[in-house]
């Protein structure tokens, strides 16, 4: 099966092009954009971990190591496409246009953190594993029905493939031939469970066979491979050909969440042979003449400022409103809920 599903790459571990012909598809703009967003979300991720350690953020799910997969795929989207992320895909959603401030808020236990800008169809992160796959199929189906050229992407992990909703989502998408890309980040682990205990198949890509849909396996740490293959899958979807399953092989460098201790289940050795996706693009940029110290420095400074501002915004964000415990449950609050709310506010008034 690994023969049927070879890992597609554009650059190798040292940042060299696997095939010189790829060159013509790689513009300076693309390189810089990929680098910029990867550096941006890495800086965000590290800041978030620091804030959590300082007690300024709740439990947080880091994505370090998965930047190429998240940025490469998010840059393949168009503004009106739909994104159905998990709790680990804020690298992708920030790249697509979600605000950093809101993302911080999410990890600080604020429902406001679920709200994407009005011009971006980004769903609240799916917490129950794999539930978002049928949603993506449904949203894509709606686009197909109204004859638009928009598509949807569902992000999910290797562990998610074991849930029934993975299966039902892919089956619906293939039966109704809807424009959706199922983007799997195979980071080797579902919390502590390695992929060999998660499934007996050698690849995730081969699971596409069950649905008669294309399945491809890419080096998820190669941002170019991710970008081109995701774009291809979107073109295919938007061309009316239906869904694709993409397996992006990657690696979670850090813990599952800040509450997790990976040394309990995974030796440090394991990750050592995997070249960090940022290092890969840096090597590429240096080799192919895109490395501009000045621009790098300016970018880094700009990002630091952006993130500091986001932290400040998060920390000065208006405090949560108690009434939001009761609002947004229904369009119109049922009488008995209104009574509960009134009684509670009266109680608070008495305290």
């Amino acid at each position: 099966m690994t023969d049927n599903y070879p890992v597609k790459r554009v650059i190798d571990d040292k940042g060299n092009l696997i095939d010189e012909r790829f060159k013509e598809h790689i513009s300076e703009r693309l390189v810089k954009e990929l680098y910029y967003h990867m550096a941006r979300i890495r800086a965000f991720d590290r800041k978030a971990i620091n804030l959590q350690r300082q007690g300024r953020l709740g439990t947080y799910a880091p994505f370090e190591g998965q930047e190429a997969a998240q940025v490469g795929s998010a840059l393949a989207l168009q503004a009106d496409d739909w994104v159905f992320p998990t709790y680990r895909d804020h690298g992708a959603t920030i790249t697509f246009g979600k605000s950093m401030t809101r993302t911080f808020l999410y990890w600080n236990g604020r429902v406001e953190g679920c709200v994407a800008p009005a011009n971006r169809n980004i769903f609240p992160p799916a917490v129950p594993i794999a539930t978002q796959l049928p949603h993506a199929a449904g949203a894509a189906w709606a686009e197909k029905r109204r004859g638009s050229k928009n598509a949807a992407i569902a992000y999910f992990g290797d562990g998610a493939t074991s849930e029934g909703d993975f299966h039902e989502g892919l089956n619906f998408a293939s039966v109704f031939k809807v424009p959706v890309v199922f983007f799997n980040q195979n980071n080797g682990y579902a919390i502590s469970v390695p992929i060999e205990k998660q499934m007996n198949s050698e690849t995730i890509a081969q699971k596409s066979v069950a649905y008669g849909m294309p399945g491809i396996r890419i080096d998820g740490n190669d941002c170019f491979a991710v970008y081109f293959e995701t774009k291809k899958a979107f073109d295919y979807a938007k061309g009316g050909n239906g869904p694709t399953l993409i397996e992006a092989v990657t690696w979670r460098r850090g813990a599952h969440t800040t509450a997790d201790d990976p040394s309990k289940y995974r030796s440090d050795e394991l990750g050592k042979k995997i070249v960090d996706p940022l290092t890969r693009i840096e090597l590429f940029m240096k080799t192919y003449g895109y490395w501009d110290e000045e621009w790098i420095r300016a970018t880094s400074e700009k990002l630091t400022n952006e993130i500091d501002r986001a932290v400040e915004e998060m920390e000065t964000f208006p405090p949560p409103k108690v009434e939001d415990v009761f609002n947004h449950v229904y369009a119109e609050m049922p009488a008995q809920l209104a009574e509960q709310k009134d009684a509670y506010f009266a109680h608070l008034g008495r305290q």
């Binding site: 009005a118 129950p128 049928p134 949603h135 199929a137 449904g138 039902e168 947004h328 369009a331 049922p334």
Partner: protein, 338 residues
């Protein structure tokens, strides 16, 4: 006559319909009127649904609006969510309530919560229809009445019509509601009676019960197929000189607390009837409502005549599971002679 007050739009003409025909009619009207309407489920296309609720709809509106899906309840509800947040108004049929459980996660964590999780940025105006209840000699699991799995789920509404008029009106209301609504359809009543139903569009307000029989000694509270049982019991009680008022709840969440408290404060006694198991059944909520609103009025402990705390038995024994008029009458006598 009082019904007409609730009717909006074209109401002059009425037609004899069964409950299932009324359901079909409601969907037909909204398929015609609102192109966002999309009906999906197992066997609802050519087959017209195992109970014929969608009979003729695919023929009339096409197989992209009345869609046979794979056998996959989580898939049906999950994709309906995607359709709903992206501008459509799905009506998903679950073949029997007993087969809704594979979709329970989707309903519990998404259908009911997306509005809240997104602060109303995304909403899920969808309807889930499910035939339910025992008494039609169906195979096992086909006869569950687990309404409380959904009344204990903030973010969704639950309605349950007992007759053709309410069925059409409530389903239309559900399809036009900005929030998700579960419509429980008592199978036992699908074809049990015909009634005059307006051919035009009208709706029955969600959240409002109805007094279907006025009385002064005791209030019977029921819904769905149990209305018939309550009515029979009330007849028998009348012969014994006891005057029963009957409330058809119609909406199970949000429940009409006013109609309950007003009636109890008048009659001072209550008998609640439902098919579901006693423990955890909606009857307990109603007891609480009476406790909260009418404690000082109550002259006798409330009686609950319910299904037992056992799985709905195979059909040769289902009559021993379901509340009967005789059991209800005993409950009535108990509260009256307390």
């Amino acid at each position: 006559m009082t019904q007409m007050k609730e009717v909006i739009g074209e109401t002059e003409t009425t037609k004899q319909m069964t409950l299932i025909q009324a359901i079909n009619d409601a969907m037909r009207i909204l398929l015609k009127e609102d192109e966002r309407t999309i009906i999906l489920g197992e066997d609802i296309g050519k087959n017209g649904g195992v109970f014929r609720a969608t009979e003729g709809l695919q023929e009339a509106f096409g197989d992209d609006r009345v869609v046979d899906t794979p056998l996959s309840e989580a898939g049906i509800i999950g994709t309906s969510i995607g359709l709903a947040v992206n501008g459509f108004r799905p009506v998903a049929e679950i073949q029997f309530l007993g087969f809704i459980y594979p979709a329970y996660e989707q309903i519990m964590t998404h259908v009911s919560r997306i509005r809240m999780r997104s602060m109303s940025r995304f909403t899920v105006p969808m309807v889930i229809r499910a035939p339910y209840g025992a008494g039609i000699r169906a195979p096992e699991i086909h006869s569950d009445s687990t309404e409380i799995l959904f009344t204990h789920m903030p973010g969704i509404k639950v309605v349950c019509p007992s007759n053709p008029y309410d069925a059409k009106g409530l389903l239309i209301a559900a399809m036009e509601d900005p929030d998700p609504v579960l419509v429980l359809e008592p199978m036992k009543n699908y074809r049990s009676k015909r009634a005059e139903v307006p051919v035009g569009k009208y709706s029955v307000e969600i959240g409002k019960g109805k007094i279907v029989r006025e009385g002064s000694d005791v209030t019977l509270i029921a819904w769905g197929a149990m209305i018939t049982i309550a009515e029979k019991a009330a007849e028998q009680a009348a012969e014994k000189g006891i005057s029963c008022e009957i409330i058809d709840l119609r909406t199970l969440y949000p429940i009409d607390r006013d109609i309950i408290s007003q009636s109890i404060q008048k009659t001072t006694r209550a008998v609640i009837i439902h098919e579901a198991h006693s423990t955890g059944g909606l009857g307990n909520d109603i007891v609480s409502i009476i406790n909260d609103t009418s404690f000082l009025y109550l002259r006798a402990p409330i009686e609950r005549i319910t299904g037992f705390d056992v799985p709905v038995p195979f059909f040769t024994l289902e009559e021993h599971y379901l509340p009967t008029p005789a059991r209800v009458v005993e409950g009535i006598e108990k509260v009256v002679h307390f």
